[in-house]
């Protein structure tokens, strides 16, 4: 997918062309790039690459009205790029008073985002499926819906986010899915990204129940 000699990028322009799709995963409708893989590529491209996590009053995040924002600077090819990211839960909502685990996860995500400022996987953040210059396969366009229907589907997704936590068994989850099958079919056809988010929510809820038991 890339035109980079030996598969190694040696400049921001080549990093921009690197296809990272095999190293991503989708969660709650968003695409995440593996930080370890991204760092490995950064090291290949510039062995002097380094990153810095900004500290605020001895904490690795800035307190904004009780929620946290982490800041990471990556220096690569002799240039420093700084990025920031709020500490969020699986619904992409800010977490009040985040714990160490949540902050750590956000720092690594922020590192990946800062690497994107240097070109690596930047296309993901601009909502593209492939890096620039790569040929895109034809994709089916989602069905277009009137605004009111989109709004009602968004409300439906909101409802799922709210209520999925109340499912206390696999049977509950199955029942929740079955009872909403018609809307789920509609969501899949009209808003595939939101449907992917719902699928992720169910997967997470299932694995959480499995862990509990």
């Amino acid at each position: 997918m890339t035109n980079i000699p030996n598969g190694w990028a040696t400049s921001p322009v080549e990093l921009l062309k690197l296809n990272v799709n095999e190293h991503t995963e989708k969660k709650a409708g968003l695409t995440y790039l593996s930080w370890a893989w991204a760092w490995q590529e950064a090291l290949k491209a510039d062995p002097t690459v380094n990153f810095m996590v900004h500290m605020f009053d001895g904490k690795p995040y800035m307190n904004i009205n009780g929620s946290g924002m982490v800041w990471v600077t990556v220096t690569m090819f002799g240039k420093a790029m700084t990025c920031f990211l709020p500490v969020m839960d699986y619904k992409n909502k800010c977490i009040a008073d985040p714990d160490a685990f949540e902050v750590n996860k956000t720092i690594m995500r922020c590192l990946t985002k800062a690497l994107a400022l240097h070109g690596l996987g930047l296309y993901i953040y601009s909502g593209e499926d492939l890096p620039e210059g790569a040929e895109k396969p034809p994709v089916a366009r989602p069905r277009e819906l009137p605004e009111a229907s989109v709004e009602s589907l968004n409300l439906f997704v909101e409802g799922i986010r709210e209520f999925i936590g109340h499912c206390s068994s696999d049977a509950d989850l199955v029942s929740f899915w079955k009872n909403n099958q018609t809307q789920l079919d509609e969501l899949k056809a009209a808003l595939p990204d939101s449907f992917a988010e719902v699928v992720d929510l169910f997967k997470q809820a299932k694995s959480a129940l499995k862990e509990k038991s």
């Binding site: 199955v174 009872n179 099958q181 169910f202 997967k203």
Partner: protein
């Protein structure tokens, strides 16, 4: 599904084959879909664009559809033909197209046409019994009239007057009585099938394993043991017990050949999705390379 034309038959036959005479209308499940294995339905949905069927393999299917169209014209007092009924079950719309309803003072006799082989008529076709009973349940729920009898009107495409086998049908059009189930039992059956389909839909979306097809759903044939002798092409006799076969082989100074049972629906790709099915791949992977036993 793509219809191919490998043998260069006239294009209008391809057009006919591509046309769906049966639509499930606004329903989410037709009775036929409800009764088919969830794994097959899900794989067909997923790989619909990759499935190919040649028009030459659709001859009987097309003739069956043609007959339904012809029968629809045979309006006769006291008979309702080709009526599609819809019912909402557990939030899902289910539909069934009923070939013939014979109205009697006591209730409805439901008749279904089957354009089939003599062999099929001679088997206990559980799926026919299930299909007709689900139709009966639908009809009673929708119309509020009792169904008092179920019949199959089998049109036997390979009928031969010379066949003397026991249970062989007497005529090319053969009427068969089908047992009528209790309404409550049928309702439980319908809801359980529906649950299995809905569950498989969720499993598919979440990337989980699909439920496996049962041996009956895979049309699994029985393993048989053929007693054979060197120099003779055909078996002397087939046995379902290896002990009996070995005993006979000793008497005949022959040997026993094991003919393993196989899932004929998969091996013949009658489901259309055998190439995409991990259950079938696993079965193929487990097959021994040799089957002969001395």
């Amino acid at each position: 599904m793509k219809i191919t034309n490998k043998y260069g038959v006239p294009d209008n036959l391809v057009t006919l084959a591509s046309r769906e005479y049966y639509t499930k209308g606004k329903s989410q499940y037709s009775v036929t879909e409800l009764l088919s294995p969830p794994r097959i339905k899900r794989l067909r949905e997923k790989f619909n664009e990759n499935i190919e069927q040649d028009v030459s393999d659709m001859l009987w299917q097309m003739l069956g559809s043609a007959l339904h169209v012809v029968f629809e014209r045979s309006q006769t007092p006291g008979y309702v033909t080709e009526e599609r009924v819809f019912l909402e079950v557990d939030g899902v719309t289910l539909s069934g197209q009923i070939d013939v309803q014979q109205e009697t003072p006591e209730g409805i006799v439901l008749i279904d046409y089957k354009f089939t082989s003599a062999w099929a008529v001679m088997q206990d076709k559980v799926e026919w019994e299930e299909q007709l009973n689900v139709y009966a349940w639908l009809l009673q729920k929708v119309k509020g009239k009792p169904v008092i009898g179920l019949k199959i009107c089998a049109m036997i495409r390979d009928f031969s007057r010379h066949d003397q086998r026991e249970d062989y049908p007497d005529s090319p059009i053969h009427m068969m009585d089908i047992p009528l189930w209790d309404m409550e039992i049928t309702e439980r059956f319908v809801k359980e099938r529906l649950h299995q389909h809905q569950l498989s839909k969720m499993q598919m979306e979440l990337g989980e394993n699909l439920p496996q097809c049962s041996n009956a759903e895979r049309w699994m044939s029985e393993t048989v043991y053929a007693v054979k002798r060197e120099g003779r092409k055909t078996a002397i006799k087939l046995f379902t017990s290896i002990e009996e076969a070995q005993e006979r082989a000793v008497k005949e100074k022959g040997y026993v050949e094991t003919r393993l049972g196989e899932p004929r629906r998969c091996t013949g790709n009658f489901c259309g999705v055998a190439a995409h099915c991990d259950q079938y791949s696993e079965w193929l992977g487990n097959q021994p390379s040799g089957t002969a036993e001395a």
